[in-house]
């Protein structure tokens, strides 16, 4: 049979990276967290840095990232991942340090730590999942929730006058001279996944070169809290999120401009 001919080592075009531990992830069906975990680990594998990479997991749905990513990892208090990463990187300047954070973690409670790590030009990479909502705690408004968006804490829609505007934290961070690279990507289509992976690779390459703070924002879904199917949630990302959170590089190192 054809199949036997095809399914063999030589013909392998895609499999799970070895840097991803072989356990099922706890994320909801269709959740972008899982995808980003994978491409991040693909890059780590391709760059051959798994043995000298230290990751920091946030508080949020990805709190358990350390169960999946096969690199040394620390779990940080809510919002403090960039401070924890600073602590690690300062004592291990030769290691590659990244954080993985949701929008509530990074842009609400962790605003100060994120901004000051960026301002110090800490040589770390931040993978920032912007799904516009608090996932783990069940659907509260995030700083990034869209105007008018209904969440459990904005049941009548986010009223920007009283609850604040959806925040473009990446644009703010890009202003800081310590920051080398900021980009906004997404993972709800195969082409975008490829693109996002390239961006993560870029960020880690700048990191390896010691060029300062780099951040890859991924505009993502949260089907469970949007109360949508995964496919619907991806359409939401495409039609609602991305028109506001436009994809593309926000800051690239001047030398590569």
């Amino acid at each position: 049979m054809t199949e036997n001919l095809i399914i063999q080592e030589d013909n392998l075009v895609w499999n799970k990276p070895s840097t991803l531990l072989d356990v099922p992830m706890h994320y909801c069906p269709g959740c972008g967290h899982s995808t980003v975990h994978r491409i991040l680990m693909e890059v780590v594998e391709e760059l051959g840095i798994a043995d000298r990479t230290i990751g920091v997991a946030p508080v949020g749905c990805s709190v358990f990232a350390y169960h999946y990513l096969n690199v040394d990892m620390q779990q940080a208090a809510h919002g403090r991942a960039c401070a924890v990463a600073t602590g690690i990187k300062r004592v291990h300047p030769d290691k590659i340090v990244f954080t993985y954070q949701g929008d509530g973690d990074l842009a609400a409670i962790g605003t100060a730590e994120t901004i000051h790590a960026a301002n110090r030009g800490e040589n770390i990479t931040v993978i920032f999942i912007n799904n516009g909502i608090y996932g783990m705690t069940s659907g509260q408004m995030a700083p990034t929730s869209l105007a008018g968006m209904q969440t459990t804490t904005s049941p009548f829609g986010r009223d920007v006058q009283t609850m604040g505007y959806p925040m473009k934290i990446s644009e703010m961070l890009a202003m800081l001279p310590g920051v080398s690279f900021v980009t906004r990507q997404a993972v709800h289509k195969p082409a975008l996944v490829r693109k996002a992976k390239k961006s993560i690779r870029q960020a880690l390459e700048y990191n390896i070169k010691g060029m300062g703070f780099s951040l890859v924002e991924i505009v993502s879904n949260c089907p469970s809290n949007l109360k949508m199917t995964p496919i619907e949630s991806n359409i939401f990302v495409e039609n609602k999120m991305i028109p506001f959170y436009e994809l593309g590089d926000i800051k690239v190192p001047s030398e590569v401009l």
């Binding site: 350390y66 040394d72 620390q74 403090r80 602590g87 004592v91 590659i96 730590e113």
Partner: protein, 354 residues
């Protein structure tokens, strides 16, 4: 040759940090302990390559400590009361994740913004757990500049031995005063890749290391707590430290910690001159508390007077030890006011002599 110097408490602490081979200090300025960061900024990096970083806040500082300690480094932060309060979440995380590191709280008068004068009113916070959950710090109370030096070394050792956060609870006066100190020799910075549990990069370890305090199954979290409690019991058995002076013939005991004990010591001298048989017990470790010695003297003496620069905190631990065996009285000044030896002696006479 011993390195003998006149030094400010805060600077002695900083110097000891450098000499103890500390890898990194993260802190945020606050009176009366800003000299620590300032001294280190001047001295440390050039001498040992130690990292010194002014964080954007105490919240950031404690989490930098968490990160660096988790990554195997010998690290410390210092603050004073309001700043310490901001670190409470971090302290609880560190205790739960069992990361060795050193804190110093150069206690000022509270509550609130309070005053910058010396105080001991953060005893409860340090000893009972200002952060959430069942955890303890190993708490050392220096009463001299010399102990500011010695307890840095001891603190790091205990932290590493038990994988636990250690607190040096000093009051503002000990941070600000100068005394003669004998400094220990410069120690090499320990190999930060040596801790097998630390996140130093997987290298050739077969499995990754991870540091966490999250255990979503209650039973697992209880296990962690049981392990922590076992460790605390170990400390109670092996790490209790106190100073006892003239307690053998004593009819009365004065007690107190840190500067309070130094002042009480003077009151004791004055009392002895007046013919009162007073002894003194100075708990050096506030946790583990020297319960046994109080239990013992409690059955022998006519009364204990506890002196603190607060409204009565350690006195609860004294009472828990004595359990009614003899009267335990309390005298305290608070909000930054320092009691004088004279007023202590007066109170002593009021309680026990008249």
């Amino acid at each position: 040759m011993a390195d003998k110097k006149l030094m400010k408490g805060n600077e002695a602490l900083a110097e000891a940090m450098i000499r103890a081979g500390c890898d990194a200090y993260f802190g945020y300025p606050i009176t009366p302990q800003s000299e620590v960061l300032e001294y280190l900024a001047r001295e440390a990096t050039n001498r040992t390559g130690m990292v010194v970083l002014q964080a954007e806040s105490e919240v950031a500082a404690v989490n930098m400590i968490y990160g660096a300690a988790g990554a195997g480094a010998r690290v410390m932060t210092t603050s004073s009361s309001p700043g310490m309060s901001l670190m409470m979440e971090g302290v609880s995380y560190i205790a739960s994740a069992e990361l060795p590191c050193l804190f110093a709280n150069v206690n000022r008068g509270g509550p609130g913004l309070g005053t910058i004068q010396p105080s001991q009113a953060d005893y409860f916070q340090s000893v009972k757990g200002g952060g959430h959950g069942d955890y303890k710090m190993f708490v050392l109370a220096p009463s001299s500049v010399q102990e500011m030096v010695d307890f840095v070394k001891l603190g790091f050792d205990v932290a590493d031995k038990y994988r636990t956060p250690v607190m040096i609870l000093a009051d503002g006066a000990i941070g600000q005063m100068m005394e003669k100190v004998v400094l220990f020799e410069q120690m090499p910075r320990p190999d930060k890749n040596a801790k097998t549990w630390a996140t130093t990069g997987r290298a050739d370890r077969p499995v990754r290391n991870y540091i966490t305090s999250l255990h979503i199954q209650a039973e697992k979290m209880e296990e962690i707590n049981m392990r922590l409690q076992a460790k605390y019991r170990d400390m109670e058995e092996n790490e209790v430290r106190y100073q006892a002076i003239d307690i053998d013939d004593a009819d009365y005991i004065l007690t107190g910690f840190g500067l309070g004990a130094r002042i009480a010591m003077r009151a004791m001298e004055m009392g002895r001159e007046k013919g009162y048989k007073i002894g003194l017990i100075r708990p050096i470790t506030l946790f583990p508390f020297p319960t046994k010695i109080f239990e013992e003297v409690g059955s022998k003496v006519k009364g204990i007077l506890d002196v603190e620069m607060n409204c009565g905190q350690m006195v609860e631990d004294v009472r828990l030890s004595v359990e009614g065996r003899c009267p335990v009285k309390f005298y305290g000044r608070t909000g930054g006011v320092i009691p004088s030896p004279e007023e202590i002696l007066e109170k002593f006479e009021e309680y026990f002599i008249k």
